[in-house]
């Protein structure tokens, strides 16, 4: 419960509590907007609880709808225990989740209470996350509360920490006058001033002395004089011996020092330091900010902070995506380093690729099976070079030519050859540009564009067939442009095939065109029938392995047709045997037989 006696209008402000009082007022005026959390500390009896109550009182007047909770840490703990004992822990959490201004007194009692600390931390996170205000008081600064979780300390220290000092003589007089005014008591001139000189170490003691004076005056019904003050209060204090000048000197030194420190420290460094503490507390690496702190010239803290926040946001998203795919990714160090966002992107892409792999090249296609002709010699040589050292020489390889020229065979053959690299760990992606467009549309529709991108980013080798399908598709070209740049920068090989020369792709963005041209653009001529099946076809050097294949094909005797009774239906129902690569090549198997329209049908007589 808030104590109505504690208000700002009866809080006497002096040099020792000016900062604390201004901060408290700012917080009460606009809870959650500035200094969150506000941490007020001082020794006992200097007005912490008064300020806390005043914040609550003032905020209630200004914001009647605001849910204000005032309690001591002990109350909080007993509520927590009660909630747990009655199995209503959820209700407890819900209750604090709805609080707009939490005023927590005497948080020094957190010491050693592990489960309370974790609950406080949780409540803090929930409140701060939703912009609600927290104000705490304590008898020592956060760092001096022993046995407290580091994370909680950094939370406590994350806002503004203010201390309330012992009031100076003038403030003491003002406090005494204010108290007398409240109670309607009058004293002879000089009495209160004399009382203020008594060595009270805090306001509560001062008030005790005042109470004594009031009691004496009302009992004796004689106005007390200045001389009586020491006599009455003497039971509490022996007259103070003149304070050793030394200690005063030290206090003066400290006070001057505080001013010097406040003037000398560079505010941008202070702000940056705060950010570093905050981000470290969240578990993120802050090397970048620390480096900025080392610089001589003032840094743009807001820009640094914005960049940091953006990177952290990105890392969080990447982590959540990765965890969704594979729970083991939770809490990886990679997701805590804003300087490794690119690595984290890469990691996510790999995770996506692992759980949702891209289609690979058609198995069985080999470069050696391509017959070299003067029309395709260049392309095959380039392909061999790519197999030797992918990503380094011809990147991208853009091959165009008519259907049946073996372009698809070539692309897949390169894919197959690279598949075995590094123990088969390479991700070889083969996609038809038409499918790429469709997938993008699906991803846009499902709002899963990032995942879709990540999937392709993981490719070590990307083969895109029928690039002509991208022609005129602006958005797809944009996406492909970014993918292309990323892969190229990472040194990944790309092979693009097209059914027409680059110049004929009129709807292709010039930036893509120039990038395609930056690799090797080569044409594959159509294969002649006699070249394909010629016995003793001249075998190019290095391709000797292909020669027997051709000859064996020609030597093979056709299988005679069989009657139905001879068909082994069981065998047909079984999985087919590993098919000869010949039949896997779309260009070599006729799937759509032409109709009979074009044929000459002889009249049967």
């Amino acid at each position: 419960m808030l104590d109505g006696r504690f208000r700002f209008d009866n809080f006497v402000i002096g040099a020792a509590n000016r900062l604390a009082s201004s901060a408290a007022r700012a917080v009460a005026d606009a809870p959650g907007a500035a200094y969150n959390p506000l941490f007020i500390y001082s020794s006992s009896g200097l007005g912490k609880t008064h300020l806390l109550g005043a914040i609550g009182h003032h905020a209630r007047q200004l914001h009647p709808g605001l849910a204000i909770e005032y309690l001591t840490l002990d109350d909080f703990v007993s509520q927590l225990h009660q909630a747990i004992a009655t199995g209503q822990a959820d209700g407890f959490k819900r209750r604090y989740a709805g609080v707009g201004l939490l005023l927590l007194d005497d948080v020094q009692f957190l010491t050693g209470r592990v489960e309370t600390q974790s609950e406080v931390l949780r409540v803090f996170n929930a409140l701060q996350g939703s912009g609600r205000q927290i104000v705490m008081t304590c008898d020592r600064p956060p760092t001096e509360i022993s046995d407290v979780d580091e994370r909680l300390i950094s939370r406590l220290a994350g806002g503004l920490i203010v201390d309330v000092g012992v009031p100076d003589y003038e403030t003491r007089v003002a406090i005494l006058r204010s108290k007398c005014g409240d109670r309607g008591v009058r004293f002879a001139a000089g009495v209160l001033e004399e009382l203020a000189r008594t060595p009270a170490t805090n306001v509560r003691e001062l008030q005790g002395s005042l109470n004594r004076l009031v009691a004496h005056q009302s009992l004796l019904e004689v106005p007390l004089g200045v001389a009586d003050v020491w006599h009455v209060v003497g039971a509490l204090h022996t007259p103070a011996p003149p304070a050793p000048p030394a200690s005063d000197e030290f206090e003066a030194f400290l006070s001057d020092l505080a001013t010097s420190v406040a003037e000398s420290v560079e505010t941008w460094r202070v702000r940056l330091g705060e950010r570093i503490v905050l981000w470290s507390a969240e578990g993120f690496r802050t090397d970048r900010l620390s480096r900025a702190l080392e610089r001589h010239e003032p840094q743009d803290v807001e820009a640094l902070e914005a960049a940091m926040a953006a990177d952290v946001e990105r890392l969080r998203w990447l982590e959540s995506e990765a965890v969704r795919l594979d729970p083991r990714c939770a809490g990886l160090e990679l997701f805590r380093d804003p300087e490794r966002v690119a690595d984290a992107e890469d990691f996510l892409a790999k995770t996506v690729a692992r759980t949702d792999p891209l289609p690979g090249p058609r198995p069985g296609l080999r470069l050696n099976d391509l017959v070299r002709t003067p029309d395709n010699r260049v392309v095959i040589q380039a392909a061999s070079a790519i197999v030797e050292a992918p990503g380094s020489r011809y990147n991208p390889l853009f091959v165009h030519g008519p259907a049946g020229a073996g372009i698809s065979h070539l692309a897949h053959a390169v894919g197959n050859a690279l598949r075995t690299r590094d123990g088969g760990t390479w991700c070889i992606a083969c996609v038809d540009a038409g499918d790429y467009v469709e997938q993008l549309i699906d991803a846009l529709q499902q709002g899963a564009i990032e995942r879709w991108r990540a999937r392709y980013r993981a490719a070590d080798v990307l083969i895109v067939e029928n690039v002509q399908a991208l022609d005129g598709k602006e958005r797809t070209q944009d996406e492909f442009f970014h993918l292309f740049n990323e892969l190229q920068q990472a040194g990944r090989q790309m092979i693009l095939t097209c059914d027409r020369p680059l110049a004929q792709l009129t709807g292709l963005q010039s930036r893509l065109r120039s990038r395609f041209e930056g690799g090797l653009v080569a044409e594959m001529g159509p294969e002649q029938a006699d070249e394909r099946f010629g016995r003793d076809t001249p075998v190019p050097v290095g391709d000797e392995a292909a020669a027997p294949t051709i000859d064996v094909l020609l030597d093979r005797t056709p299988t005679p047709p069989v009657g139905l009774e001879a068909v082994d239906f069981d065998a047909l129902a079984r999985e087919p045997h590993a098919v000869d690569s010949f039949f896997l090549d779309a260009e070599k198997v006729v799937l759509d037989w032409p109709g009979i329209d074009g044929r000459v049908v002889e009249e049967l007589r």
Binding site: I161, L257, S260, I276, E294
Partner: protein
Amino acid sequence: MPIVNYAARELTCKIVYYGPGRSGKTTNLHYIYDSVPAARRGAMVSLATQNERTLFFDFLPLDLGTVSGFKTRFQLYTVPGQIYYRTTRKLVLQGADGVVFVADSQRQQLEANLESLRDMHEVLAEQGVDARGLPVVMQYNKQDLPRELIGSPEELDEALNFRAVPSFAADALVGTGVFETLRWTSELVLRRLGATAPGVGAGR
């Protein structure tokens, strides 16, 4: 040893009391030690010979608590004044953020003061520190002695303070000028915070 660590919100100053033998450096530290509440000071380490000469150095750590949001620590050192402890002086001076030069006001000590001052500049130069950039204040100690024995602050300024740094008349035995000297030194040290990057001091 950085002067200020913004991330940890810590501020550490190393202040060295330099000067000729018997000029009152250790007395300065003793006075400060006695004036500081016990909770704020660490044990004063003093390695002295039997007749109270500083043998190695005096070290007084002061924990000033949280000052303007910074956990502030001062480390006060003295060097042995005797001329033959040069290596120790060099070690102690290393990394100093500020120097108090405690001069003996007695006229007959003028030569010793000058020699010590020269020595200080040499040691700093050997450590690659530009003495012009290092906060230095002069303290003319023993001003309580009879007028005829000592030089006035003005005379001493004329003789020793050729760089016109802040100077203070002091009587370290009773504490006159001790805190004033320390206050100005810290002021100068702190003023450098804004002008230099963190982690800059003597011999770094």
